[in-house]
Point group: C2
Chain length 566, copies 2
Amino acid sequence: MRASKQLIPTLKETPQDAAIVSHQLMLRAGLIRQLASGLYTWLPMGLKVLKKVENVVREEMDRAGALETLMPSAQPAELWQESGRWEQFGPELLRFQDRHARDFCLGPTHEEVITDIARNEIKSYKQLPMNLYQIQQKFRDERRPRFGIMRSREFLMKDAYSFNRDADCLADSYQVMYDAYVRVFDRLGLRYRAVDADSGSIGGSRSQEFHVLADSGEDAIAVSTVSQYAANIEAAEALPRESERPAPGAAMTRKPTPNTKTIDALVQGFDVAIEKTLKTLIVEGAEDGTLVALVVRGDHSLNEVKAEKLPEVASPLRMADDAQVRSVIGAGFGSLGPVNMPLLTLVDRSAALVSDFCAGANVEGEHYFDINWGRDLPEPEVRDLREVVAGDPSPDGQGTLEITRGIEVGHIFQLGTKYSEAMNCNMLDQNGKAKPMHMGCYGIGVSRVVAAAIEQNHDARGILWPAAIAPYQVCIVPIGGKKDPAVNDTAEALYQSLKDQGVEVLLDDRDMGPGPRFADMDLLGIPHRVVISSKGLAAGQLEYKHRSNPDSEMLDEASIMDRLGA
Amino acid sequence: MRASKQLIPTLKETPQDAAIVSHQLMLRAGLIRQLASGLYTWLPMGLKVLKKVENVVREEMDRAGALETLMPSAQPAELWQESGRWEQFGPELLRFQDRHARDFCLGPTHEEVITDIARNEIKSYKQLPMNLYQIQQKFRDERRPRFGIMRSREFLMKDAYSFNRDADCLADSYQVMYDAYVRVFDRLGLRYRAVDADSGSIGGSRSQEFHVLADSGEDAIAVSTVSQYAANIEAAEALPRESERPAPGAAMTRKPTPNTKTIDALVQGFDVAIEKTLKTLIVEGAEDGTLVALVVRGDHSLNEVKAEKLPEVASPLRMADDAQVRSVIGAGFGSLGPVNMPLLTLVDRSAALVSDFCAGANVEGEHYFDINWGRDLPEPEVRDLREVVAGDPSPDGQGTLEITRGIEVGHIFQLGTKYSEAMNCNMLDQNGKAKPMHMGCYGIGVSRVVAAAIEQNHDARGILWPAAIAPYQVCIVPIGGKKDPAVNDTAEALYQSLKDQGVEVLLDDRDMGPGPRFADMDLLGIPHRVVISSKGLAAGQLEYKHRSNPDSEMLDEASIMDRLGA
């Protein structure tokens, strides 16, 4: 492609309303333009990238045996009423009426439609497992669309749905999709992790998110320093660093600790190591009117997602207020502790391995020092309560955890029979008996991958595309062609030769100075750049530079071809 | 692909609500399923066909230098108010409000959005011509969706928009698209015509429709028996078959013709050749309160589209009623004619070449016979007024016309400056002066092409896909594999060999008898079928049959490969 025939509306200034780097660079490089809040047009250079991501996703879905379909965007309300989601879904679900005043929505996902198809078209267990997918524009009416295509209202998504004979069959299908996702993100050339996710309200027995790693990511992820283990910080199991509790030392004492309402104040005022302090949080219990005490080390934080999953604790989590606490314990926040605690007390694994520790005395303005489990109070009721921190042991036993950030671009779920039971999606089993199919669902935010790739791969001058998704692999920039016809002739010959070899090449023949053209090519992130000038030609050389390399080299044409892999 | 792993939900019975053969066969072959009125899911086998059409269209657009983009489906009302279409468009435009009560529509086309992009991103005439296109689901809220995907509410469309320096530049871009469309439909293997269309209310100076020829087509088309000439019946120029008017014969006479209100009655009652009769229609004139007489031969029909384009005639066309006619002429329908006609009288070209003709006398119950132009009444004011009929000379001077039927699958327009003037879409010209860009728009109904291909190519057993869009090129049907392992081994080996050669092959390994499998493969329209049986193998042969050929042949494997082009 000649740049003069391409639409490359680059911007010098960073648009003011673009808060994150991918949004800024996509606007500056002319990949997208906003039509209305959360609605973007993909301009030609942007769409080339999007299509490359889409094609990799499609190829790997096909390779995994999934069957491509295309469902309507507009979905009748009746199906959503059957699944219950018409009422459950909030205003993100864009609802409308057609000219006959029938209710429809624009699909944010297609569980209902695909389940309707499966119940009508799949009869027997012999046809299963079957995985049906589509790659399609989806709509979510976000309250506050932002970050460009990262959180837009219309976006391109691959959604796959597997139908399975039973839970084992579902687990196999899930693994096939997991492997396909690994191939997709490997091929895209992105650094990513498959992250154990809290499957939360979606239900089902297993769920993993695929995150592109980037400092700007919305989500904190705990990853092993040595293995592939990765989990959402909410879902990561917090193992103690200690294997056993040290033997008790000095006898427990109780001291007045006036004006010591925080762990910091305790540490500073009484020369206690923070690892030797415990803090006690009071939450409402699962049974109405009850309270539960949760104990973690002073340097740790309660993980609220873990807490609200405890059968003893109310869900969603509700912290007790000062009045509730005082009426039951007789002391308020800042003076609480496990000794003489009248409430059910659940203790984090790490807190349970501390000896000679310090905690509130449940008497206003007093603390106990040198407390020891099993000596000064009963052995603790142990739970996993805290958030992991960097340096914790990896739950898979390999290495330690570090905390990194990621952008969620994929999600795989074992849905089980949630939709198939609600919508009577049955198969006949080996005995001719109707049984609900077991379903999995598997999404990739195709347009989001483009933004995530930029968040992970950019520098001050612009984008650094991984080769697999660069809009062009090579750009040729001729300099001084007006004065020296040999420059343009060489550029043309190289351009034709690369095109003939199937290389995606952009000849920057625009009537602009070299500086602005170099800046555009850097902004656009074309991996390989070849500059052709009179001076170089005089020495029989062209200038080669890789986008990720600060330095260029003067090379003869054969060596250039070598660099381009052509 | 193994048929056992594919979703092939064929139906034996013709669904009752499917009125046309493409709808029936697409349902029966399991290509589509209805989700709601006018909303269809493309099942895997159907989507394979749709994708093939889409890919041919994309390749030819790219080859023609058009740049692919992707615009949002949801469009803000403001743009449509700017162009005036928010008010003009009827209830086919699906309108909705987002959660902030802002008005949007789901785009049936994207003139406004692309014009907004062009006015923002294209600055100079030097960037033109530029052609931007997309392939995208479109929405039209049809009052009565019918004929399956032929007239559905969501459909896949390729819409391209060219921006040009001036009218000449637009004409060149239009020709480039015309040539691309010819390549598209040639490659798809369809019999089609580019048809001169009445551009009607869309305006612009030129417009052609691409029609797939099929007896079931909605539109009548006049085509030359020898050249590529084709036109909508409304737009086809009606040339007389006679080159000159014969000399007058007998003198004009006036006779009573009681109960003779129709041409048929005149022909039968008075032994006149119908080609020697003229009929006179009275329509309202362009000036308020005036009437105009239009005269065509008795065996011809007035073409209303031509009539309402006459500057002398009101548009839209309004026929005068009996009272109006009587008050001005003194006689009513059935007794009208050009002799002594008090109104402006416009005469069709063929009617102007008749001599010795018969027509009403403008006296109730009387006709003139042996009338001659220039003798008995003034020479006629000649216009092109009638509909063409089979046997008329082709307007391009090559051959004669025949009337055939077509399904409109593409349309190319020279829009001119309609949108660019309404929306201030300007470029700077050579003198640095702002001028409106000249626009063209070019659509292909991608999903409609699939239905049209079936309307054109089917038989009693099912679809006969052109090779370019068949879901698979070859199917292999092993028979008796349970008893004879050699059957399955041979089938597997052939399947692998064809796959390895890149042939799209479907191995029908389903646990069904041969009859139902043959019926499915015929219904699905797979071009090549290879049957493998014990008996054939014993003779070292396989059975080959082309879908369009009633007979099969027993061939050795090398000859089979030859037939498959593998």
